[in-house]
C-alpha cells in the first residue's frame, strides 16, 4: 500500500500560520462545511429548521455556538460550519439534523483563513477596506457575506470583534493567501 499523507489547501503537511504586525493569519484546515437549503415547498411553510441547535440567521448574518456555526448564503440557503471536523462526514450529520432540507458536502471545495487581531478591531477594519468593496465599518461581528476579493469569489465572516474569517475557492488557495498576506504586510508598513 502507498503511504498517503493528507495535504492542506496550501499544499503543506501542516496548516500555515503567519503573523504580520497586529494580524495573525491562519489556514484553518480542520473546518468542516456543508450547505443547507430549504426545499421549495418548505420555504413558505412552517419556518426554518434549527440544525445542531443553530438558529439560522437572516440575510447577511452569521451565528456561532460552541464548535458549530451557520451563515446565510442565499435565499433559503445557509452554510453550516464545524470546527475540528474536516476529517469526518459532516454533511451526513447535518442531514440527520435537518432531514427535510437539501444538504451538500462543501468541506473540500473551500479553503478557510482565520485572521485575528491583537490590537482590537482597527487592523481588521483596515484590512477589510483594502480587500473588498464593502462598508468595513458596518461589517460588525455576526455579519457574513459573499463578495469578490481580487476577482476571487469569497465568503467573509466577522466572527468576533477581533476575528475575521475568509473562505475562498480551494483551487485558488495560494492566490488568496498571497492577496491576504500582501494586504496585511502593506497595512503593517503603513502603520
Amino acid at each position: 500500500m502507498s503511504d498517503l499523507k493528507p495535504m492542506t489547501a496550501l499544499g503543506g503537511a501542516d496548516p500555515v500560520r503567519l503573523t504580520l504586525g497586529a494580524l495573525t493569519l491562519t489556514e484553518n484546515a480542520e473546518l468542516a462545511l456543508a450547505s443547507l437549503a430549504l426545499r421549495r415547498d418548505t420555504i413558505v411553510g412552517s419556518g426554518r429548521p434549527i440544525p445542531l441547535g443553530l438558529t439560522l440567521p437572516d440575510p447577511g448574518g452569521w451565528v456561532g455556538l460552541e464548535g458549530v456555526a451557520a451563515f446565510w448564503t442565499g435565499p433559503g440557503q445557509w452554510m453550516i460550519e464545524a470546527e475540528e471536523a474536516a476529517g469526518g462526514d459532516f454533511a451526513a450529520l447535518v442531514k440527520t439534523a435537518a432531514p427535510d432540507c437539501s444538504v451538500t458536502e462543501q468541506t473540500d471545495a473551500w479553503v478557510a483563513f482565520e485572521i485575528t487581531s491583537s490590537q482590537g478591531e482597527g487592523p481588521l477594519v483596515g484590512l477589510l477596506e483594502k480587500l473588498a468593496n464593502l462598508d468595513a465599518a458596518l461589517f460588525r461581528p455576526g455579519h457574513a457575506t459573499r463578495t469578490a476579493i481580487e476577482h476571487m469569489s469569497c465568503y467573509i465572516i466577522r466572527r468576533a470583534e477581533d476575528r475575521l474569517a475568509i473562505l475562498g475557492m480551494r483551487t485558488l488557495a495560494n492566490s488568496l493567501w498571497h492577496t491576504l498576506t500582501q494586504a496585511a504586510s502593506r497595512l503593517q508598513l503603513a502603520a
Binding site: N133, R146, A148
Partner: protein, 96 residues
C-alpha cells in the same frame, strides 16, 4: 455604482452581471400555435429606451440572486431593485 440589493443593502455594481431587459422573464409558451413568431419577438425585439428601463441583473459575486433593477438610462440613477423571484411570483398570483 451601487445597486440597492433588497436583502443585503447597497452593493457594488462590480459584484453583478447584466443580462438585459426584464421582459426576458416573460418567456412565451414554446408549444403555443404562434410560438415561432412569439419567440422571434422575445429573442430579437427590444425597446431602446431613453429613460426608465427595467433590467435583469445577477448577483454573481454575491448571493447569486437575480434582481429586477429599475434604472434611468439617461442619468444611471437606480430607482428600484426587486428579487426577480418575487416579481415572477407576484405576476403568477395576479393570474397572468
Amino acid at each position: 455604482m451601487l445597486i440597492p440589493h433588497p436583502l443585503l443593502g447597497p452593493r457594488d455594481a462590480g459584484e453583478f452581471t447584466y443580462l438585459g431587459d426584464a421582459r426576458l422573464l416573460e418567456r412565451p409558451d414554446g408549444l403555443g400555435p404562434d410560438a415561432p413568431a412569439a419567440f422571434h419577438d422575445y429573442v430579437y425585439l427590444r425597446d431602446n429606451i431613453a429613460g426608465v428601463q427595467r433590467e435583469l441583473w445577477f448577483h454573481e459575486q454575491g448571493d447569486r440572486s437575480w434582481l429586477v433593477v429599475t434604472r434611468d438610462t439617461l442619468t444611471h440613477e437606480i430607482l428600484k431593485a426587486e428579487l426577480a423571484r418575487d416579481v415572477v411570483l407576484a405576476r403568477k398570483e395576479a393570474g397572468k
